[in-house]
Assembly symmetry: C2
Homo-oligomer: 403 residues x 2
């Protein structure tokens, strides 16, 4: 089996066959900015989703979870500028109406429509604008980029990708778009991410693959430790490429997971790079841990440490903060076995400082991508987490209510 | 019983009878700055301690824990500028030598000396300077303020207090000093805190009272979510005031706890106020929770949220971030029962937004102390956590290695 995964130039969610998308300004919050979008597949799709673990869930999350219970969907309607969270009955009614209007427009059942919202919590949706907006949105097979633009908030650019690979002699395509910025943490990150594929895949298989991939990607992203009320990752598979349906525990499923993983790793790193105020992507790998849970927890704690993040911003090789974050991560470690590398340079060996060339390491810490590796030398499990540096710009953005 | 607790003007750790202290520059890190200090009581003291929960513990923590195992001590030797953490065998040997030199100087057993260090992780102590320093330190009954100066690092001022109260017809005094600044989080905060009293109290009673008080004060302080390798709170009780010894489960023990609590609340709030880059003290109270653990966890999560902290810095009434932080605190809540108050103004009732005067609330959020109250309306437990706003100054301080 050819397992090569090829990136599609200017790939996006409408790169896979049979998907259409479009967006409009509405306006929701900002005038002259796309803020409302629809994704649609004429073929009914196998559909899977992963959502926020926050106890406070927006109506968009609750309704999408409900509509995914049968494993199928045809469309996603999404808006930015207003999270429609913590709005009581009104919020639920508004979300339902948006679903109904979208279903009417596309002539499908409301149960086949999923919904996602992002933006400020605690403000009502401008329903009149949205009603008009849904009617006016024009969808097309080239509308993926428009939809990517419509979902971003404080992101400085869209995050889009598509890849090809061959599964059982058929070329399948997977596309994805995401928005992130702040409030990005464990169990999802404040993010919306929509994934499409023209492969045919059983919905239960799609759900388990999406969960696996999200655990290694979006759930290993930590921007500021906060978790939103609206986090949503949805994957739609419409089967338009005509492959034999992919089922659980087959080589085809494994290959599909590999390709989806490529898409999601790309988007995860893009989200970290473009996080609020970020100047650097930080990648923390914890190796030789006693369990995958331990490795993930330690990597998460280190990449989320304000002091580590601030040190990387200043290009300081302050490994003491890395070691201290590891120590408070609540996993069992043997401090005298720990090795730490910053920017590929060993700074701690067997728990003790190692002499290193300060100039050399500072130069490497000035790069746009900084890696930190911690070897626990205590087991066989490994995990990687992604985050970004903590900058003055983050504080400026988040001390005024612009998100 | 008269339960009045009176603050002593310019009170410090040498305010209680029988304690002496002194400090010297050494120098350890900064020239012309006090960095090494000794606290001493001729009477052997009941002694209690609470320490960091970080798995990576500095030798100072490990040795103090060991020396406290018999519940007695006569002296504390402390330094700032170097944490002496993650230094392997050398670190342990250096800490032991400092203890031995202090014991020799004071003519007491090394087991009666406790030790505390704070500062940068992963640098060796300048032992020659320390050896000379210990010999040269002059201790006196007026040296408490000097010691308070010697332990601070990025703090902008010393934190000192003493209170009087009457227990069983005797006036007892409790004094305390602390240093904090960054790396302050659950289970202690990166801090050193030394408490003294001339009351006589059984050491097991002192230990349980100190633990209770620390759980409500220092352990409810969250500056940046990081927990240090060196956190140390020690209380010495020398009995110099001649009271009948205070034992567990007596009204006298309760009164002593009240007075110690007053001292520790004062120091906790001072630590939050003077945290790195802080412009505001944030006090978060969670009420009507199902358990004290739930109340504490929710209060901690909210006060530690980067987004909440940044909003308070900008005087923004962004209650959505408070609600989102509550939702991810992993306690069980019923969102539709939640009320939220910011600066005493109700912003959320039964989970839904309440209209409020934006100008009024912004004016109140400009105060130096901001309170946030969350009523879960779901139980009978309450907890308060303290923290500070997240400012550009915090990032500036922590992106260059000056701590």
């Amino acid at each position: 089996m050819n397992t090569q995964i090829i990136h599609v130039p200017e790939g996006t969610i409408t790169s896979p066959a049979g998907f259409q998308a479009g967006a409009i300004c509405a306006p929701i919050k900002a005038k002259n900015r796309l803020g409302l979008a629809i994704l649609y597949s004429e073929n009914r799709c196998s559909a899977a989703g992963v959502f926020t673990t926050n106890t406070v869930k927006a109506p968009s999350v609750l309704l999408s979870q409900k509509h995914l219970s049968n494993g199928n969907a045809c469309a996603i309607v999404a808006n930015s500028g207003c999270a429609n969270a913590c709005m009581g009955e009104q919020g639920i009614n508004d979300a339902k109406e948006i679903i109904n209007l979208t279903a009417e427009k596309l002539n499908i059942s409301p149960e086949d429509v999923l919904i996602a919202s992002t933006g400020v919590i605690g403000m009502p949706l401008p329903m009149n604008n949205i009603r008009r907006g849904i009617k006016s949105i024009k969808i097309s097979p080239h509308g993926g980029h428009e939809m990517a633009q419509a979902i971003i908030t404080t992101d400085t650019r869209t995050k889009e990708i598509a890849v090809n690979c061959e599964i059982a002699q058929r070329k399948i395509t997977i596309g994805g778009i995401a928005k992130g910025a702040g409030m990005l943490c464990p169990d999802m990150a404040t993010m919306l991410c929509f994934l499409t594929t023209d492969a045919a895949i059983e919905s239960s298989c799609l759900q388990s693959i999406l969960k696996n991939v999200a655990d290694d990607t979006y759930n290993m992203l930590n921007i500021d430790g906060d978790t939103s009320t609206n986090d949503t990752v949805i994957c739609l598979a419409n089967g338009a490429c005509g492959n034999k349906i992919i089922r659980d525990n087959t080589p085809e499923a494994a290959l599909f997971q590999l390709a989806l993983s490529e898409v999601c790793h790309f988007l995860t790193k893009e989200l970290a790079r473009d996080a609020e105020g970020a100047t650097k992507l930080i990648e923390v790998t914890v190796e030789s841990a006693q369990s995958i849970t331990d490795a993930r927890q330690a990597a998460h704690t280190i990449v989320g440490s304000s002091l580590v993040k601030a040190a990387i911003y200043g290009s300081e090789a302050n490994w003491g903060r890395v070691f201290a974050a590891l120590g408070r991560s609540k996993i069992k470690i043997e401090p005298t076995k720990v090795d730490i590398f910053m920017a590929d340079i060993c700074v701690v060996k067997n728990g003790c400082p190692v002499r290193f060339d300060q100039k050399d390491i500072v130069a490497k810490l000035h790069n746009k991508e900084v890696n930190i590796k911690v070897c626990l030398n205590d087991g066989h499990y490994k995990a990687t987490a992604w985050g970004c540096d903590l900058t003055q710009e983050y504080v400026i953005i988040n001390s005024s209510m612009i998100t």
